[in-house]
Amino acid sequence: MGIFILRRIIVALSVALTISIISFMLLHLSGDLAASIAGPEATVEQVEQIRVDYGLDRPIINQYLDWLGGALQFDFGRSYYYQSTVVDLIVDRMPITLTLGGLALAIAVCVSIPLGVVAAIRRDTWVDRLALLFAVVGQAMPSFWFGLTLIVVFAVTLQWLPAAGAGNWQNFVLPAIALGYYATPAMMRLTRTGMLEVLESDYIRTARAKGLRAGSVIFKHALRNAVIPVVALAAVELGFMLGGSVVIESVFSLNGLGQLAWDAISRNDYPVVQAVVLIIAMFYIVLTLLADIANAALDPRIRTR
């Protein structure tokens, strides 16, 4: 168990390092950064000036090592646009994105697991089909469009909830629903197949042969085993949602990490872009690591190995 976790941590660290290299190289090699920063009207001299000012004239390896050395001490440099350090910007915006992601995950879990369980128990009935329809629709709905539709219906027409901003909890309801629905179909389907598989298993027959109540058979014996893979998926989905929150934040004008990244991208504010990409990747890595550990903790066959 200890060795298993240690090995996973080493892999996670090297993946993070690789991603930092890739994102750095991609940004620096796919275009002329200095020209992008200077803008289309800049003269050749101005571009060269910027290249020197931002240190973009040095060999790329040196630039990367400098950046990495800073990143290891949580120093991602200064924003080209804002008058502050990248770390301050990120710390400032992070809570909004984390709140949004956490709420969205909570919604997705609270909807998908019960729905998947019911669909499996009532297999091939109208409940099952309705759940399947719900999943198929969720998979096909573009999240930005779903978000806009929510705004039109609930914020504008019914006026139940605010359409934009991040003042209080009401601001998070619609964006969390929009983001959560995106993660629901996959988790619902996994719960359903997991439950179907487990309900067919021998140990469920044993449990029923003991005369246990239906609730105890389903919740104690079946669900526990069926949700183990769903936990791992939930962590992965949260990672995806943090990365994809740029869309929802833009639709609902939430000033989170995604919005920061999007603004930075449109303003060629590369230190910010790089840092956000790396941080979201780190979140994903840590989440999948936690999922593995949670998996091991939930499944005694792994835990006691």
Binding site: S201, D202, Y203, R205, T206, A207, R208, A209, K210, G211, L212, R213, S216, K220, H221, R224, N225, L298, D299, P300, R301, T304
Partner: protein, 333 residues
Amino acid sequence: MSLLEVKDLRVDLPVEAGMLHAVRGIDFSVDRGEMLCLVGESGCGKSMTSLALMGLLPRRARLTAGRLDFDGTDLTAASERQRSHLRGRRIAMIFQEPMTALNPAYTLGNQLCEAYLRHKLGNRRAARARAIHLLERVGISAAAERLNQYPHQLSGGLRQRVMIAMALMCEPDLIIADEPTTALDVTIQAQILRLLRELQQEFGTAVIFITHDLGVVARIADRVAVMYAGEVIEAAPTAALYANPSHPYTRGLLSCIPAPGKTPPGSRLQAIPGVVPSLVGHVEGCAFRNRCPQAQMTCEQTPPMQALPDDHRARCHFADRLAPAVPQAEMSS
């Protein structure tokens, strides 16, 4: 009065091709403290019979019975609630696959105590004490520590012992053991069989032992019912059945067992030619006639159960007329 009385039990399963008649009107009874063996090859309906007795048939299966009485309770009329009070408490079951019959997510102690607590036989401490006592009784050492272990930490033989202990937790009147030794090594098989027999005599529990292995039957059973294609085709006290097998199928099964000292070395192992008929749709006549060496025109009609001496019954038109024709039966007689 018998503990369990089964008359004309039928189980039908809808499948793609039509209706599968898995169990086609079987009769048997089990007395208190008696061990009845249900013998037959796979697909003969013996597992469906055991699930029907437990009330654990697949939801789409349909059960009808002329009589299905357990200790004075009519099981066909019992509600699911009443049946769940019988399950585990008065009728327990041991399954074939010890490797998958235990929930991997819970400790043995948890799973052992579950039925005891569910049927309100005592508190948690009493349940644990009984679990430890039974684990020791089924031959598991360091029983108290075992309670905190998970199923995957045990070998198949040990798990089957745990399953037996689990079945005994509530001191049931009847245990249904569905091929409990099939998945085990031969040496372990013998140990488990001996254990089951001992416990059965010690606790006075009735046991329905389901197996495909006639060799096992001779060692443990009081009475035997041989099943073929969803029917009981022969039933008798064990000694009577072995002494005078009266259905051609039973004789065929017996001749398949090589007997040390009786089967000459180098002689061919016997096999029954042909395959079991499909039980989908309407089945008419003797189901064994396509494989039977003595089949005649009469066999197109469904044979009645014929009563023979010594509480012996066989479902063959010629049960009382045909002399034993199988070589091995000749040798043993």
